[in-house]
């Protein structure tokens, strides 16, 4: 399995895959002596929905955070939509990407966080409209019209003037989803977006995400413990353990007939919990 994935990626590095959206090449991440990701190779096609599962500390969230440039890459490279996120050309040589280059590539990526991370000093509408105004250069009117449309889409048309502290967790997370979508990213990263929610608020958030999955062709990378949701939206599920992908398959296959012992044990434990 490991060897197959390995050679497969080497081939891919040479040929250009037209519809490839994300590619990790031998990416290493360490915290001190602790190796979180060990020469990880991984790719996602444009429009693909991928769910990352595995025990905590297995490196799933780190992948999302590296893509969002919230964590540095110790070794290897990351490509997004054909462009390197980690490196850039300067003359004939390849150097580490500078801030300007990172910003350009990062524009294609949006992220929704476990803790929502809405801006508490802004009303819902401005939370959604702020970045389109100052990053995409939309006029205030256009940004706010678009923000209203998105808030309507996530079922919060009547909450545009509410501050985050006046909203429930589920509502806050839906604003956060609208905020991420307002930047029209090609890739949406979902980092345990329902883990901080009270159980009865999980469904409203997952419904919004199912809707986005059904109506857009956005590439989604999702870390979650919601196995039913993963099964519903994913094209492919990756099982992580110790910084490596130990098994990957379409959800029906991986959930019903996992091959790896570690995957079986993990799924048993997770499903037991529910």
């Amino acid at each position: 399995m490991d060897i197959e994935a390995h050679t497969g990626t080497v081939d891919r590095a040479d040929e250009t895959v037209a519809d490839e959206m994300i590619r990790f090449e031998k990416v290493v991440k360490r915290y001190g002596d602790n190796v979180v990701l060990n020469k990880l190779d991984f790719h996602a096609a444009a429009g693909e929905r991928i769910t990352l599962i595995g025990p905590s500390g297995s490196g799933k969230t780190t992948i999302l955070r590296m893509l969002m440039t919230l964590e540095t890459v110790d070794e290897g490279r990351i490509f997004v939509d054909g462009e390197s996120l980690t490196h850039m050309q300067r003359g004939d040589t390849e150097v580490l990407a500078d801030d300007k280059h990172v910003r350009k590539v990062r524009k294609k990526i949006g992220m929704v966080f476990q803790q929502f991370n809405l801006f508490p000093n802004m009303r819902a509408l401005r939370n959604v409209a702020e970045a389109p105004m100052h990053v995409l250069g939309l006029s205030r009117d256009d940004a706010e019209t678009n923000a209203r449309r998105l808030l309507d889409l996530v079922g919060l048309a009547d909450k545009t003037d509410a501050y985050p502290s006046q909203l429930s967790g589920g509502q806050q997370q839906r604003v956060a989803i609208a905020r991420a979508c307002a930047m029209q990213p090609k890739i949406l990263l979902l980092d345990e977006v329902t883990s901080a929610l009270d159980p009865e608020l999980v469904a409203e958030v997952l419904d919004v995400l199912r809707n986005i999955a059904a109506t857009t062709d956005i590439t989604m990378l999702c870390v979650t413990h919601e196995m039913k949701f993963a099964r519903d939206i994913s094209d492919r599920v990756l099982m992580f353990n110790d910084g490596q992908i130990i098994e990957q398959a379409p959800p029906d296959k991986l959930f019903s007939a996992p091959e790896h012992e570690r995957t079986k044990a993990f799924l048993r434990a997770v499903l037991e919990e529910r």
Partner: protein, 216 residues
């Protein structure tokens, strides 16, 4: 020496004139301290190590030397270097710079109190750094530290008598002039104390209201 009400009434206008200078010096000095303190706090977070170190050294230096010495330097030494300041100018610069080193620490605490997730969300939205500060970080950091900043403004108000040492005719200087001209010190200095109290107490009350409002 017994209290002379008539004498007290006679000298009150002079003292009130001094109080106005005291308040003017506090206001101008506060604006300087609040603005410069924020600049220092931001410079301490610069991505350039030399800027960070120079800022830290400057802050340490200013905080470790007495305000009175700094005022003397600004007023008596700078003219020999070709920079002549009026007593009031030297005074508000001295107060402003001195207190900026304290307010910068306050701002720093406020900025560090903004959760990491806020920075991460700003990164995920690709917001330009200047916009992150203006729209996200400072609007959250500053309200929380308003009470602490207010306390420094009050502290500065109470230190303005130092300006009398560099010829600024604030309230204490007026009182000293009165007592040396009339050989009566009781009324003048008592009234100075009372007038300071009359301003400080409401100001302290206002700061406590800020504390309640922004909670701690």
């Amino acid at each position: 020496m017994t209290w002379d009400w008539e004498f007290a009434r006679d000298i009150l206008p002079d003292l009130l004139r001094g109080l106005i200078v005291t308040i003017q010096a506090t206001l101008v000095g506060s604006v300087a301290a609040l603005v410069l303190g924020l600049v220092l706090a931001l410079l301490r977070r610069s991505s350039l190590l030399p800027v960070r170190l120079a800022t830290k050294a400057f802050i340490e230096f200013v905080r470790s030397t007495p305000l009175l010495v700094q005022l003397y330097f600004l007023f008596f030494v700078l003219p020999t270097l070709g920079v002549t300041l009026s007593g009031f100018q030297a005074g508000v610069i001295g107060l402003g710079v001195h207190y900026a080193t304290y307010t910068s620490e306050v701002y720093r605490a406020g900025i560090e109190g903004v959760p990491r997730g806020q920075w991460e969300a700003a990164t995920a939205l690709n917001l330009p750094t200047s916009r992150v500060w203006r729209s996200v970080i400072l609007p959250q950091a500053i309200p929380r530290v308003l009470p602490a900043l207010g306390n420094y403004v009050i502290a500065m108000f109470k230190e303005t008598p130092l300006l009398s040492a560099i010829t600024v005719f604030e309230m204490l200087a007026e009182a000293k002039a009165i007592s040396s001209q009339t050989f009566r010190s009781l009324e003048a200095f008592t009234l100075v104390g009372v007038l300071f109290l009359l301003v400080s107490l409401p100001a302290a009350f206002a700061v406590r209201r800020l504390e309640r409002r922004y909670g701690h």
